[in-house]
Structure formats: structure tokens, C-alpha cells
Symmetry: C2
Subunit: 361 residues, 2 copies
């Protein structure tokens, strides 16, 4: 392809074009430093400004106060599956999980590996993880309640976050952080691999409530302690500078070009409605998630046969629509429409889907 495609990848995923253009423009000389952002010391004023701005914009966009730290940790959400119970679950205390698919299952597995007292209080495995459970009882004495806010593989999403009384919420928001405003104070910790909605692969954003830090055991390896990151503004060792820099540009775009999370939410709803309306008004396409649990980020659907699905993905690619194949574990089709995938891309896809149905349906 000599021109850019419409990118519906599940992650790593589309980035806003203005962000890519800014990176490109200043790649040889960042902010008059005479160096690329890839060459600038993390101990310099230049990088200090970058990371401080990323923290500031995160707090501003999510409307969070100084009760929280915003830190950046390498290893993706997968590293957080392990760090969260290691840091925040005292050995005998119970920890609650809600299982909504592959990512929740991995988080549960890592808590079990550490011998934590895991209690899965609800699961949608009985119907192939096609819905978000709404009937569960949180243990009053749980260290926290963990859930995955959006499930990229099955295309489900929490539209109202669980209520847990005084028990802190912990959530993997890798695939939908910054998609809309929400009430942060009930969360003890939020983590998000950047490569879906806020940046490139290679870093997780972690938002941690300060009272959680009292639980961090003294004797953990340095790089596995949240306090190592909160005490040094994520720079106890060299941070993933370029990934943090790109996140900051994405947040700036969200703030200044989009106009904040209310507006982002309005656009995201409009995008999702276009695709779900098309699916619902068709006998050819079939949504795979229960309607009340449908994701605004990952629209999963099937065609009448696997043969047609293969044909659909191939013809779409030829027409300039990438990333429409479903996750290798479930097959089918999936259009991931994160923040950076714009309305025009979604409208063009809907038109293509309409045409494909006419020709092949």
C-alpha cells in the first residue's frame, strides 16, 4: 500500500495522524535540543517536561486529584497481572475477580501462581464470555475487586462499573482507558497497556490511589514494587522514553484537538452505533456479544460462513481496510474502533460492509 489504510487493528492499533506527523516532524531534533527524542537523556529538563506533562494531562482528562499517582511501567498489562496481587494482596486476605474472558483469566492465573486467596465471584464463561455479569456479591473483606473493563476478543464491555462498597476496584483498562469520563475515586488501581487507546506498545499507564501504597511489601524485587515508581516519578531507572513521549502527544490530541473525554465519548458512541445498526439491520452480519454488553471499542461479528469471512477480510484489505480478522482464538471478524479510528474510517467501513453484503449476501 502506498497510501495509509483504514486501520481497525486490535492492538497495536491506529494512532491519530496528527500525532504521527508531529513525531515525524521533530524526529531529528526534539524541542530544540539538537537531539532526537530517542537520544535525549531521561535526566534532562527536556524529558522531565515530557513525563510531567503526560502525568498532568492524564489527571486533567480523567479529573483526578492528588490522591492518585500516575506512573509508567514496562511489561504491558501482562506485567500488571503479576504486580497487582504481589503488591496489594496480603498473603491470607481474599481477593475478588470477575472473569469476563481471556484477559481476566490471565490476571486470575497470575494471582493463583503467587498462592493468593483468589475468589472468582462471577464469570460469563457459561456463555462463552459473550456478556458482562450483573449478578454478584463482593466479599466485604476482599483486598480488591478486579475486573477487565473491555474485552477485546469477545467484544464485551462494562457500561456501568461494578459497585463494591468500600472494597477498592482494580481494573485492566488497556483497551478502553480514555474512551469516556468516569468516576476514578472508587479505584485503588487502574492499569492500561498503552498500545490500544493511548500510545504505542512498550509501556503501561498505572493510576494508583496513594493509600494502596501502604500495602506494598518491603522485600519485593525493586522493579516489581509500585513504590519504586511512585517515589521517583517513574524514573528510578531509565523509563521507556519514546513510549511516554507518544502517550503525551496522544493525550494532547485528546485534550486540544478532540476537546476532552466527553466529546471523545460522543464520537465513540456515534462510531459504534453506525456498525451495530448495520449489523442489526442485516441478516448477513451477526453480532457475537449480548446486546447489553456490547463493546464500543471492539465490534465482533460473524458472517454466514467461514469461507465468506475469509473472503471479507481479504477483500477489505485489498480495499484498504486492515485488521478486520477476529482474534486467532475465536475466529470471525472484528472491527476495533479505538479513539484514534475516526468517524470517516467507520463510515467507509460501513459502506464497504453494505456493498459486500449486496455482492455476496
Amino acid at each position: 500500500m502506498d497510501k495509509r489504510i483504514y486501520n481497525f487493528n486490535a492492538g497495536p492499533a491506529a494512532l491519530p495522524l496528527p500525532v504521527l506527523e508531529e513525531i515525524k516532524d521533530e524526529l531529528l531534533n526534539f524541542n530544540h535540543s539538537g537531539m532526537s527524542i530517542l537520544e535525549v537523556s531521561h535526566r534532562s529538563k527536556w524529558f522531565d517536561d515530557v513525563i510531567n506533562e503526560a502525568v498532568y494531562r492524564t489527571k486533567r482528562l480523567l479529573d483526578i486529584n492528588d490522591d492518585f499517582h500516575v506512573i509508567f511501567i514496562q511489561g504491558g498489562a501482562s506485567m500488571q497481572f503479576c504486580m497487582t496481587p504481589m503488591n496489594l494482596v496480603p498473603d491470607k486476605q481474599i481477593v475478588d475477580f470477575i472473569n469476563t474472558g481471556v484477559w481476566s483469566t490471565k490476571a486470575i492465573k497470575e494471582a493463583n501462581i503467587q498462592g493468593k486467596n483468589v475468589h472468582v465471584i462471577a464469570s460469563s464463561e457459561d456463555e462463552g464470555f459473550s456478556y458482562i455479569p450483573d449478578n454478584f456479591q463482593v466479599d466485604n473483606d476482599a483486598a480488591y475487586l478486579h475486573f477487565t473493563s473491555n474485552n477485546t476478543i469477545k467484544g464485551t464491555q462494562w457500561h456501568r462499573f461494578p459497585e463494591a462498597g468500600g472494597v477498592p476496584l482494580v481494573s485492566d483498562m488497556s483497551s478502553d482507558i480514555m474512551r469516556k469520563p468516569f468516576d476514578v475515586p472508587p479505584f485503588g488501581l487502574i492499569y492500561a497497556g498503552a498500545q490500544k487507546n493511548i500510545g504505542p506498545a512498550g509501556v503501561a499507564m498505572v493510576i494508583i490511589r496513594k493509600d494502596m501504597l501502604e500495602r506494598v511489601p518491603e522485600n519485593l524485587p525493586t522493579m516489581l514494587k509500585y513504590t519504586t515508581f511512585t517515589e521517583k516519578n517513574s524514573m528510578a531507572n531509565t523509563p521507556p522514553c519514546f513510549a511516554v513521549y507518544t502517550i503525551n502527544l496522544v493525550l494532547k490530541w485528546l485534550d486540544e484537538k478532540i476537546g476532552g473525554l466527553q466529546e471523545m465519548n460522543r464520537i465513540n458512541r456515534e462510531k459504534a452505533e453506525i456498525l451495530y445498526d448495520l449489523i442489526d439491520s442485516s441478516d448477513f452480519y451477526r453480532g457475537t456479544a449480548r446486546r447489553d454488553s456490547r463493546s464500543m471499542m471492539n465490534v465482533t461479528f460473524r458472517l454466514p460462513s467461514e469461507e465468506l469471512e475469509t473472503m471479507f477480510v481479504k477483500e477489505a484489505m485489498d480495499a484498504g481496510f486492515g485488521g478486520l480478522k477476529g482474534h486467532r482464538s475465536v475466529g470471525g471478524c472484528r472491527a476495533s474502533i479505538y479513539n484514534a479510528t475516526d468517524l470517516d474510517a467507520v463510515k467507509a467501513l460501513a459502506e464497504f460492509m453494505g456493498d459486500f453484503e449486496k455482492n455476496r449476501g
Copy 2:
């Protein structure tokens, strides 16, 4: 600065200009994918080719065979300080360390945190880590012998690696991997944060001999096990794609533009000699490392007073030479001359240093 400076940063550090230009050129459309490398799926043919090429080039440049895995892990060398003993030291077995400064000390600390049976068989702490110890006895039954091949802060470097009989060597080569050819088979594991000699911050290259994998305990957290990375070509979860991509470009530059590690070594020696010759022929500049232990990568030196050092760093910056301030823990001056800092930059610095001495000496 509107033009690029001569970059003597200790890390993140200079990258080869042709590499930066290639990144810039294809930033909006990588290899005809219609996407930025920042947007390409790690499960795609495009990224597969990138990571496979990076592994292939590493093996080719270092002349290593299939007895070794080359993997990429997030968290920098600091994460390897913790992972190496966790994976490779059975609980009661002794593990040997040679302490040559801050980085070795951190590696030792992490093994101690895990309650490992640590034996520091030599240290140069008695003379402020200004030399490389040459008198030590490796324990025959040690799990491995760990050493730091180059010490960025004090400017010392191993010119002949320690001999340990059948005991596997483990080395932190963050600041000098790929500076010259060396004999890899005695090493059980080599790790290197990329941001000094081979790429940007945000990834460590790990070279592990296959027999070491038999030691990896079953019950470790998934993201802390070397086998998680060796079994899935570093892609059990989303890897730091952009950092791996940049490493591959640096290795291609080393291979195709420089002509391999023999030639790189010749250039590196020439660069270091220019600066050390200037220092040795001057009463104004004074090298801080013992002559036989001097680093080819980090030339550390003092001026007659701290006032002159401050003036030197400032005037150098104004003249377009960046990164010459010594590490905040030791003061003084330091010129880091990794692979990507070319001969012209070093010659220009030597000229500046000569002039400064004339004017201020």
C-alpha cells in the same frame, strides 16, 4: 539548537543518523503496510520480519549459533538484575559476583533481596571502583559468575573477560554490547538495556544459552520467566515493537554501513585513543580510571576545579557538545563515545578540549 549537536550522552545516547533518517522516512507508512510501525500488529508478517531480522543480525554480528536464544524483554537491565537470579540460581546454590560499581552493586542487591546465597569474590570498592579486579577465585560450584562488562559511571571496562572454568558467565553488557567481537559460548546469559549502544530506551536484549533454561523454576510469575520469552520468540504478550524495530535498524547499520564488529572495534579504539591521548598529554585534564581499566565507551575525567568543570560543560554545550557532565553521583566530566558517536564528533570534541585548555588552563 536548530542543528543537531554532538551527542556524548551516557544513555539514552546518540543513535546513528542514517537510522534516525530511516525511521523518519517511513514513520507514516512502514514497509508498504499502509501503517506506521507504531500501528502495526505484532501478530503480522510485517512485525514478524522485523523481530526475526533483529535476532538473525544479533547472531550474525556476534557469531553465535543455535545454542543461544536472543530475546527482548521490557524493564531494562534493572529488571534483569532481578530476573537473572530468580531464574538461574537454585535456592541453596552459591552465586558469584564481581563488584565494579553502582550497576554491579544493584545486581548484587537484587540477588540478596531474593535471599540467594551471594558471594562477592572481588570488588574494586577499596579504590572507589576506579579499576577492574584481576585477582579472584571463582567458586567451582557457583550457579554463575556475574560481572558488569563496562562501568559507565567510573569509566572502567573489562578488556579480557574473566575466566571461570565451567562456571557460566553472566554479564550486564548494557553499555558495551556490540562494541567488538567476543567469544560468546562461555556465557550462560548476557543482558543489555538497549539505550546506550544498540537502540532506544524501553527494551533489554537478552542472550541466553539454552542449557540455562532447564533451571527456570516452574512456579514463577509468567512475565518473569525466561522460558515465556524463549518459547514465543519474545511475543507471549505484545513486545515493545518500536524499540525492537529500532534495534534492528541499528544492527543493520552496524552490519552494512560499518561492516561488522571488527571494524566497529577499530573505530572505537581510534575514538578512545584520541581522547585518552589528549588527557595523558595534558596537565589540565586528568583521567579518573586506572589506565589498564579504562573504558573505550565512557571517558571520565576531571579538570583542575569544580568551577572549571561547570564552565567546561556549559561552554561545550554552547558550542554544540552535549552530555559531558559526569554522573550526578560522582561529578566531574564524562564523554560517552558509544558506537553511534562517530570519529568526527570525537575529533571535534578533542579540538574543543584543546582550545578550552589553552584559554582557561
